[in-house]
Symmetry: D2
């Protein structure tokens, strides 16, 4: 097979967007999804309402593939929620495209989810044992089943009861004909903020989706908080559970979020600059000619490193933004073009130079290894690799598509072993202590389980669904 997939190092699950009360809600939701496209590129969907009916359009592909004028003409109403999905391996089926839309005892309900439940398997087994059927493989369907089973008289008390049964990470947006609800799990693992656009309300995974429509950022939604948007443009906040310790995913700051976004109330670029400066303090390089970033995700970290170290930043690696998610490559003679298609080292810059190569993280190490080989071929004399985060040793159970422990290079290799494997002269990771000291929230407000193995929410023993750790 000669068509390959450009593997991002790590994949997150979703981008969420919701807009309550604007005549152009659907079009603005498309814009919001454009801005959140980096959080998921496998499928996109929008559900809207004008207060009486629910409209839906979903499809596989980028937002620009899924939505055209014909699709938009079907989506009516001044309220809409949208979703970008990064489906995990093997699940690119149409059934899993979000928002999920169902009929149940309280009418119709659409639900968009970012995160991962750690007790989904047992909940699903219990639900199936007592008569539920499942048509998708996503955790989102578990949540709706629990809501449908709630023996409560009202939707809101039923929702509360359903949420109390699930454990894990979930930023959710729900929509029916009367309400839009945005909420976070009690630990607030995944980002979700809200803002205003004239009289309407906007919620989004990252603030860059507010910026694109010209909305004013208000604040991050809090762990355990539920914002209820209702007719006549009313909003009320409500804590559906006691506030637990916030466990903001630190990888959102390291890698996922766009640098121009605020997440968890703080600037992603600002955090990365700090990581870069601290990295320069912890792992200086004394005789380097230049700092280069692995573009674009490491740009801010590299800039921080350059600033602190005084070593000039150079654009030594160029990224090709035009290739799609799959590409065609030659194969008969074993030549490997995967990394070369995405990045090109600039010989004129690198030739005969001592280079500090800054990356945000190392997962499997295979991409880094090829990149380093290319940089050597371009003539670099020395390569000093600097990583803006600690070694990733543990898989994530809260919504990030990390590989199993076995595949995480740092889970079973020392830094020196990794250095040799990558073929660099020196290798330095930002320490966990250093990361937390300069990160924009206080240390105990983060989830750092992928570095430390301290999981704030216990995961089920048999957590092996969807290719994860056994």
């Amino acid at each position: 097979m000669q068509t390959a997939k450009l593997s991002s190092k790590i994949s997150e699950s979703c981008g969420l967007f919701g807009l309550w009360g604007d005549a152009e809600a659907v079009r603005l939701t498309v814009l919001g999804l454009y801005a959140l496209q980096h959080r998921g590129q496998e499928s996109a969907g929008i559900v809207s309402t004008e207060g009486e009916n629910i409209y839906e359009h979903k499809g596989l592909g980028l937002v620009s593939d899924v939505f055209d004028e014909i699709a938009l003409s079907k989506l009516k109403g001044s309220c809409a929620i949208g979703h970008n999905r990064y489906s995990t391996t093997g699940s690119t089926s149409a059934e899993n495209i979000q928002p999920l839309l169902v009929d149940y005892k309280w009418g119709k309900l659409a639900l968009a989810h970012n995160g991962n439940l750690v007790n989904a398997t047992s909940l699903r087994q219990n639900l199936e044992a007592t008569g539920s059927i499942f048509q998708t493989t996503s955790d989102t369907e578990v949540i709706v089943h629990l809501l449908a089973r709630a023996k409560d008289s009202s939707f809101l008390s039923g929702l509360k009861k359903a949420l109390q049964k699930i454990r894990g990470a979930y930023s959710l947006i729900l929509l029916n004909e009367n309400l839009m609800i945005a909420l976070k799990d009690p630990h607030g693992f995944r980002p979700l903020c809200f803002g205003r656009l004239s009289n309407s309300f906007v919620v989004a995974s990252e603030s860059c989706a507010l910026d694109i429509i010209g909305a004013k950022y208000e604040r991050e939604i809090k762990p355990g908080e539920m914002l209820i948007f209702s007719k006549k443009n009313k909003m009320r906040s409500y804590f559906w559970t006691k506030h637990l310790r916030q466990c903001a995913c630190i990888f959102e700051f390291i890698y996922f979020a766009r640098p121009d976004s605020r997440i968890f109330g703080e600037s992603a670029d600002g955090a990365r600059r700090q990581f870069g400066r601290r990295l320069a303090s912890e792992h200086p390089v004394f005789s380097a000619d230049m700092v280069i970033a692995v573009p674009d995700s490491s740009n801010s970290i590299a800039l921080g490193y350059a600033e602190k170290s005084g070593i000039p930043l150079e654009l030594g690696l160029i990224r090709n933004h035009y290739i799609g998610r799959t590409f065609i490559h030659p194969s008969q003679d074993g030549r490997d073009f995967g990394v070369r298609i995405k990045y090109n080292p600039v010989q004129e810059i690198l030739q005969g130079k001592k280079v500090v190569l800054v990356d945000d993280s190392i997962v499997r190490g295979s991409t880094s290894q090829k990149l380093i080989k290319m940089i050597r071929s371009a003539g670099a004399l020395e390569i000093h690799m600097r990583i803006g985060s600690p070694p990733i040793r543990f898989p994530c159970f809260y919504g990030i598509d990390t590989p199993t422990r076995k595949e995480l290079i740092a889970s079973h290799h020392s830094v020196e072993q990794i250095r040799k494997h990558l073929g660099v002269d020196t290798l330095g990771y930002l320490s966990l202590k250093g990361l937390l000291e300069v990160a924009p929230l206080s240390p105990n407000e983060f989830c750092v389980a992928c570095f430390s193995g301290d999981y704030p929410v216990k995961y089920e023993k048999n957590y092996n669904k969807f290719g994860m750790e056994k």
Copy 2:
């Protein structure tokens, strides 16, 4: 109509790639076209041969849209040429997709062209008057007609005669069952280089297309030079016309080429760094907090400015790479989302700061104006705009899709008027003298007609085809 096109400021016509003598020629040509995608995104095509037949596949869209395994299975042979096209307004028809493939007296011929002829209109009129029919609106068809009309006994002498009739810019690759020919016009307006991959030969508009397939860069093809590749992997060079003064398009260095490319034998990034440094000398800003680039085209220039001025570079504008070439936007209330969809200013960085904003050029000024307004809204106190090239006052007749003079803001406004129009505190353009002093070739080897109005090759008076100057 609510679907809009993301207008690049200026558009070039094409990317060319050719490979002679590799078992995986077609697949490697796809890779080459990936690397040259920035030069044209409207259509792509490949023509190949195994020495007996000619195979063809073309289509509208990106390389990754046009080529899949089914398409590749039709393209046989160890020799292939490919083309990325940026079609000018209104001509997105299937007929114009290159390479152009025709039957004529010497059999079959495929032709890929980058550039523009200045006497195409009169040649076409003459050809039509004497019995030719035209099925496309491209200059390339004119060249083939002239070749077909040549009363010579051999293809090569006919080709030479045809070339002597055309004036303007043309880097060409031709392919038939026996030969691949790469050539430049006598002034060498547009780039074309060649390299080697084991025993095979590669030609490409930019060296980044050699890098992606691991080919070794040899050198730029010279003005008036013709490289003839023939069976048993032979190559010979031949000057089909006397060598005239080289007129390398300086805009290739300023804007078009990928920074990691060599063009006309020199590094694009290296040139831009020099432009940035010189710009800092000519137009310093004394109390600025930061330099920011309009990404990605101005990154190298901004880095040069930052280096020379000592003002730190910041990532104050983030570009969204995921949107396609058209997008959906709201429209009912006149809100303008065009620029906002592509760029987002980072408030955390810009708030309360004095900013040097570096861009490569200004064409109409409308995108800059919106960008500047967004940067102001993000809280910048002062904006000092610095442009890495002189004011564009004259249209290009050699293959670059500039607007008419009327639309070029600098053709009828002073720098001070433009400054006011854009709404910046100060505005500085790199001087033509400065540009030429630091540019990588000697001053008389460039075409700078867009700045100076000195056209090295006369254009026809009635040059109004395809929306250009009357």
Copy 3:
């Protein structure tokens, strides 16, 4: 809006096909669906298994649109079930495409359904009230929910219990990794037959789907019978309920089935020939020049009429088979092209002639009216319309997409009134008595509710879902 839909007069719901135990099961299932394409053209789907996993491919459109080699490469295994769907108005959404595939307590289950439940609304309300969620609007999902809710220790006893709760018409094929099950409701409203192909078993809505793959027809499945196909190519028959009076849909004989099919054990063409002969006896025309059919559905009936009456058959109406299900037509001036696009009267045949026009049935009368006008324009002197079935006065609740009573012309007009409305010289319907006397089963083995209003299975009062009778 100027794109219109070619409305068939009456629409049935589905074609079913299943194959147990052939190395080429999936490809043969595609063939089977080709043969059953007349039973549903809105969507198609196949689910297969190799005994361990379940594979699925579904899509909107004709079988030839939905299945290509890429789709087939995903469908593994020697057992497969397929479905052609005629979706009712407004429900062309992807969610409703069958077979329905779910996860539930006994693993995975695929289900293909032909028919309609009369207590679906109340069952659905009860299921939702006690916690079920619905993702489609089809009755099939109700059946799966009931099965999932069954508090039985085994799948088969659960299935039996679920079936006992539903009322209406249902021919079903179910598939999981271990079993394929084909069954009919206790009255056997809809056809389903089985056959053999070497050692494998085949089930299909009509025998033409057995013919296309060269399978040997065995017999019709009986009302209340369940055929269970299990590993090592075993089959056993089982009556899951007491045998009730068979209520074979007589419209299958009149209109739906392909003439080359056996349904309910009898030849469709043979039945139609009898209807035609009887029609000629009941409603002779004494001085006609020719009999013409409304092609192709009335061909057999017209042939019977011609044979019995001695009046020669002519091909006076030609049907265009190439137009798709929607077509473009002019509209500005109210010209009506709908019927003309499908049928063309042959002036050379009709000019100056007295014509017996034979059709199988009249639903709304609007198509007939236009057709008759066209035949008059082609020069026919007299038109004597003869209908191969009694007046349709009552809607069907068992799976046929008839309009509401209000729209059925015969429910509120006398034969004479219809004659005037259509503009024919005489009009004769086959009597119900006549129909039943010559039909291939005994009179009490048919459902003739659409003619008589005697519904063998009571329907819910509020049966107004999907645009039916209130």
Copy 4:
């Protein structure tokens, strides 16, 4: 490879339609192409004008695939010409889709062609030798080149001169901003008629395309006649060459035309009925139970046979109209499904019966052989095959895609040998004498070269284009 093509026995080249002077010209042209879809299913195209510009839309596939509302919105004007193409093997490329649209000395010209030139190869060689380039493989391009080369002062005299150089079959419709021209070659090989719709003019290959838009049939265009339609809805007729003997393709009557069409001024159905009656006289069957047709092309002939012989017609073969032009079939075990997918014999009708099987013609004999095997398997006791035309012994050079002589079974086998090969009890072909005696024109007005080898227009010796006779 397991996707196969449903080969029609013989393929014609095209359907032509033109409409001059109706506000809905483009939509009516789409209707006209629907009606002519049987003449070509590989591609479709329309060119229109409002008197100033020329608009074009073309694509591969059926008319209903190629034209949608978006396509129609691009096609402006009250004059339009359309074309359905049956491309010959291997030439399904986009370049060949008609109408061909070119720029040349007299501006723009669109041309739709039905037929084949017998001196195309030498004309093309001459044109290429003197400087023309060809971008398609169609004869149509030759015609336009000749016109472009004409050294005349006016378009019409140039056209006349160009036509005088070409030999063969050509019904043409041309369109520019000022004129629509419909013309026939001097022998009038291929049909083309005209009619009126209110004040506008319509031309079409068959009258069924006039019927579908409600136009009034006027008459067939004559050999060597040119109808010129100009502004203010004027029409004039002009003979551009002396009238030669008409050579109407007799196969249009036998097979191609829709039965409801008039071609060459006569009814196709009427002609076929006569062929059938004569066939019954020439080759009676004395003890047969029934006549069956190979549907739908032989229906009229079979009806004529039945009428004359007194043997009743039965619908013993059912054709599946829903499969597309390619289909998926099993292949591993060599089972052959090709014919079975298209036709199904009705066992209930054929079992134990003596059958007269009527077909219109035999080309290679392979489809007939399989069909006969299927009819035997369905239980027919005797099969008496009767063919409504003489043995085809010679290839057609005038636009019908017959195979080479080698593949024509009758060119090298006696009737008795064919009978054995097909496996029928008796075989009878209509005699050429009989055919011509009952055909609707006088014998010397037909081209019967495929039966007699008497070619009215000499073809070039090296006539091996498109896989034909060498």
